[in-house]
């Protein structure tokens, strides 16, 4: 009854925010492009509609492939933000995870199947351990995890670059990169035809289910959420607040590390990132769009991937800079974050529901002889 309509309203509000943001984007496209209609076509339907007008299968696979790392970072952010931990270290963990995964793929020898799993697990474990730094600093010293994790990203990046440049670089190549991974370490493709859509996508979806279950169906997830809602309440109730805060960030690190290593082992042959890849930041956008609910992460990730692809096409085939996506994302953020957006209409629904409820409640109270 009531809640259903409000839920529908939230969906409508989300859609309206996106539409308005696209509206803003349209204005900018018209301002800066000589062929705005073509540009818009690429942005809006380009990713899925081929030039000839048919369904663009490879475009679709590309989008799904692009979701792989961001689903993981989105989940990581959901877990950490649910505990009210504004840890922004996912970005660094993606890079570190990718690097560690790559090294394991190069220097460990194993059978097909097992090798990739081992690489990914080691990468995830190391990233989880790295997240202990902001987490423990927060719990023991009260240092803001937002600041420490943000700074940690750059420390991690330069440490990775140092080892890439001075220890593990393949000197025979023109640009800085590692030696190629063993074939056994690569994440196999899900569909034939050279797309980057790997089994990593399936793993990502499995993790969506696992994380959703973890957050809503286990005592640890429950503790994380209650700490996020009211930490004083959690402490008073006898929950292990400190340990759980650490746990949430370690899980964030593990998930980000998974995302980074699966991405690197699935998409490339060598490790060649020379700067932070940006998936951690996308993960934050996605978690906010999904309102920290893991179940909505794939949807949000799809949307962001679609938007990215559209902007890329627009930048490739038209005269619109790909930075356009930053403007669109900023606009979406603005409308989503604005709690008051359409709140007048929401209030109307609420009033109507409240009156109906009161009437019902009044009837039952009357029936029970006024007993409260």
């Amino acid at each position: 009854m009531k809640d259903k309509r409000l839920f529908a309203f939230e969906l409508v509000r989300g859609a309206a925010a996106i539409l308005l943001a696209l509206g803003v984007a349209t204005v900018f496209i018209f301002l800066c492009s000589d062929e705005p209609l073509t540009a818009l076509r690429y942005l809006l339907i380009g990713p899925l509609v081929s030039a000839r007008g048919g369904f663009n299968t490879s475009g679709f696979y590309t989008i799904l492939a692009a979701m792989i790392p961001t689903v993981f970072t989105g989940l990581a952010t959901c877990v950490m933000f649910s505990a009210n931990q504004f840890n922004l270290g996912g970005e660094g963990c993606v890079m570190l995870g990718g690097f560690v995964g790559a090294l394991c793929g190069i220097y460990i020898q194993m059978n097909t199947g097992l090798h990739a799993v081992v690489c990914v697990v080691i990468a995830a474990a190391i990233c989880g351990a790295v997240m202990l730094i902001p987490a423990v600093l927060k719990v023991k010293l009260g240092a803001s995890e937002m600041v420490t994790s943000l700074m940690l990203n750059y420390i991690v990046m330069y440490v990775v670059l140092h080892f890439l440049n001075y220890t593990f670089a393949d000197r025979s190549k023109g640009s800085t990169q590692t030696f190629p991974f063993a074939e056994t370490a690569k994440i196999p493709a899900l569909v034939p035809g050279g797309s980057k859509l790997t089994w990593g996508f399936v793993v990502a979806l499995v993790f969506v289910v696992l994380v959703a279950l973890f957050m809503y169906r286990t005592r640890w997830g429950y503790t994380i959420r209650m700490i996020g809602v009211n930490q004083s309440f959690a402490k008073y109730s006898g929950m292990q607040v400190g340990k759980t805060i650490v746990l949430s960030q370690v899980i964030g690190g593990v998930l980000s590390g998974l995302g980074g290593s699966i991405e690197v082992l699935g998409r490339f042959n060598t490790f060649l990132w020379k700067e932070l890849p940006g998936y951690g930041w996308s993960g934050i956008t996605i978690a906010i769009l999904a309102k920290n609910n893991p179940a909505f992460v794939p949807l949000a990730a799809f949307f962001i991937a679609y938007l990215n692809k559209g902007c890329q096409l627009m930048a490739t085939y038209c005269d619109v800079p790909s930075e356009m996506i930053d403007i669109i994302q900023a606009a979406i953020f603005l409308f989503f974050a604005a709690e008051q957006f359409l709140s007048g209409y929401r209030q109307k629904i609420v009033v109507r529901n409240a009156q109906a409820d009161l009437k019902k409640l009044g009837d039952t109270v009357a029936a029970e002889g006024g007993q409260a």
Binding site: K2, L213, R217, T218, R219, Y222, T223, R225, M226, V229, N230, S232, F233, A234, K235, Y236, S237, G238, M239, Q240, S343, R346, Q347, V350, V351, N353, A354, Q355, D357, L358, G370, Q371, A372
Partner: protein
């Protein structure tokens, strides 16, 4: 009573909050010039909401407000103040680190060049204090003055800003009997000078004593306006709750057995170097309710925080059945069978954004019976929350409703449902019925008695003198961080005597107080 014109007219006021609560439905509220008008009702009846709209803190969803015959749109407190409306909130809105005079001129200070003219501020304060017979110390810091004086500062603040209509939100909730008497004299003095006073309360006796007329609210609706002289207390009570409430709790004589909680020489100094607890020792036995009476701020909060390890004492010990409970994780304290109904229920008692279900399982979710391997046993959890909602008559739509959507009384029922149902050995109930409706109050009091008679030790901390005297089997009075008195039998006590101990006028001998420490 002379027939005056209405100074405030609120017509057909409806207010629906964004969370869906219809706090007011077509309420009419008229106040005459120069009267003391009571606004009565249980908690959640919509009194505060109505007054917030009159003070510009909330805007009505529909309806019209007229002040002094002029139709007004009170969009903010600033507008309300400019219309001559002042409000004294239940929780004082004062800056503790500033002096009384500074608080009074806050936001509108007299200036000398670029600087605040402090001398002028003191003069203003003294002038108003004289004129309205509200004695305060202009140079004292607000954090050092007693509650009664803080309230006077609040009233002065409103008067200095030109208020002719004063809204007092449960002004006596925090006062002692003596302070209340003083306040009433001052209010009558103000009334004689032509001020209009709206007095929010649910204490029947006070209303009868001081007000001219009263408006009763129930479940967001007005139940009518009455001349105070023409309506009986029983009638008011019936209109407020829709049935005759028995406010006294029946209980058989306590048969205390072995000692559960033993507190020894606890000392605590707060961050401003004030000694809040000075060698406090007492014990609570199975089967009895030990009350702690006292004016707020005499160490009760610190004591409770220490007993639940939310704070650490400077010295002393406390044990439950021989096991230390100081500086111990709450998880362990709870395992020992201690539960706490916290004073600040919104901060500690609940997770407002969580569902009722998530709130009632917060102390037991890790137990085997609610888990199947790594996963929650959702069926067991649903069953448990439904059982508790049922047993504690929490009025809600479902166990999936957010706790913050409930009324104050029902929120507290959620808290006690959790705290009372864990088979506790020791229950610390800190202000368990503050600010909640009569129905829930009665329910919680009965439960406390029932639990104690079934063998729990209960430590009841309450600033509500009636409550602590009514419920306790024996009681101690805290004054200035020390135990000022111990009564092993509460049946023969009267308010006056209690008031004297609570205000530090009297103090029992060490031997008398020492009787509260039982052996065993």
């Amino acid at each position: 009573m002379e027939q005056n014109e209405n100074v405030v007219e609120m017509r057909g006021i409806t207010k629906v909050y964004p969370n869906g609560i219809a706090a007011n439905q077509s309420v009419d509220f008229f106040v005459r010039k120069g009267e003391i008008h009571a606004l009565m009702g249980e908690n959640g009846a919509g009194k505060s909401t109505l007054m917030k709209m009159l003070f510009g803190l909330e805007q009505p969803t529909s309806g019209a407000i007229t002040v002094n015959g002029e139709k007004v749109s009170l969009t903010s407190p600033t507008v309300a103040i400019s219309k001559g409306i002042g409000m004294v909130h239940q929780h004082f809105m004062l800056v503790p680190s500033l002096t009384v005079a500074e608080n009074i001129v806050l936001g509108m200070p007299p200036k000398k060049g670029l600087f605040i003219d402090y001398k002028k501020a003191v003069e203003i304060t003294e002038e108003y204090a004289q004129r309205y017979n509200l004695h305060v110390e202009p140079d004292a810091k607000v954090m050092d003055i007693p509650v009664g004086m803080k309230q006077k500062v609040e009233i002065l603040k409103a008067l200095v800003r030109g208020a002719k209509i004063l809204i007092l939100d449960e002004p006596t909730a925090v006062l002692t009997t003596q302070e209340t008497g003083e306040l009433f004299k001052e209010l009558i003095h103000l009334k004689e000078q032509g001020y209009t006073i709206i007095f929010i309360s649910h204490k029947l006796k006070e209303i009868k004593e001081i007000t001219d007329r009263l408006t009763i609210m129930r479940a967001g609706k007005s139940m009518g306006v009455y001349n105070t002289a023409d309506i009986s207390e029983q009638e008011i009570s019936r209109l407020m709750v829709g049935r005759d409430v028995v406010l006294s709790v029946e209980k058989d004589k306590a048969v205390p057995t072995d000692v559960v909680l033993k507190v020894n020489d606890i000392e605590y100094t707060n961050e401003w170097n004030k000694k809040m607890l000075d060698k406090i020792s007492f014990s609570v036995r199975r089967g009895e309710i030990l009350g702690i009476a006292g004016v707020e701020g005499n160490g009760q909060r610190e004591l409770v925080d220490i007993l639940f390890s939310l704070d650490a004492p400077d010295a002393g010990s406390a044990t439950v059945l021989g096991q230390n409970i100081l500086n111990t994780p709450q998880e362990k304290i709870r395992q020992m069978g201690v539960s706490l109904v916290p004073e600040d229920r919104m901060t500690f008692g609940i997770a407002g954004d969580g569902t009722i279900e998530e709130n009632v399982i917060s102390d037991r979710f890790a137990k085997k019976e609610f888990n199947k391997g790594p996963l929650f046993d959702m069926q067991a959890i649903h069953a448990e929350s439904d059982r508790l909602i049922d047993e504690y008559t929490v009025l809600c739509k479902s166990s999936k409703q957010q706790v913050k959507m409930l009324s104050g009384g029902n929120i507290q029922k959620v808290v006690v449902a959790r705290e009372f149902s864990s088979d506790p050995t020791l229950i610390i109930a800190d202000q368990p019925t503050r600010g909640i409706d009569v129905g829930a109050t009665e329910f919680i009091r009965k439960k406390l008695v029932e639990l104690s008679r079934n063998g729990a030790a209960v430590l009841l901390v309450s600033a509500d003198l009636n409550e602590v005297m009514e419920l306790s089997d024996s009681l101690i009075v805290l004054y200035g961080g020390k135990i000022a008195a111990y009564f092993d039998d509460t049946s023969a006590l009267d308010d006056e005597v209690m008031g004297e101990y609570m205000l530090g006028l009297k103090r029992q001998s060490t031997e008398e107080i020492g009787r509260v420490c039982h052996e065993g």
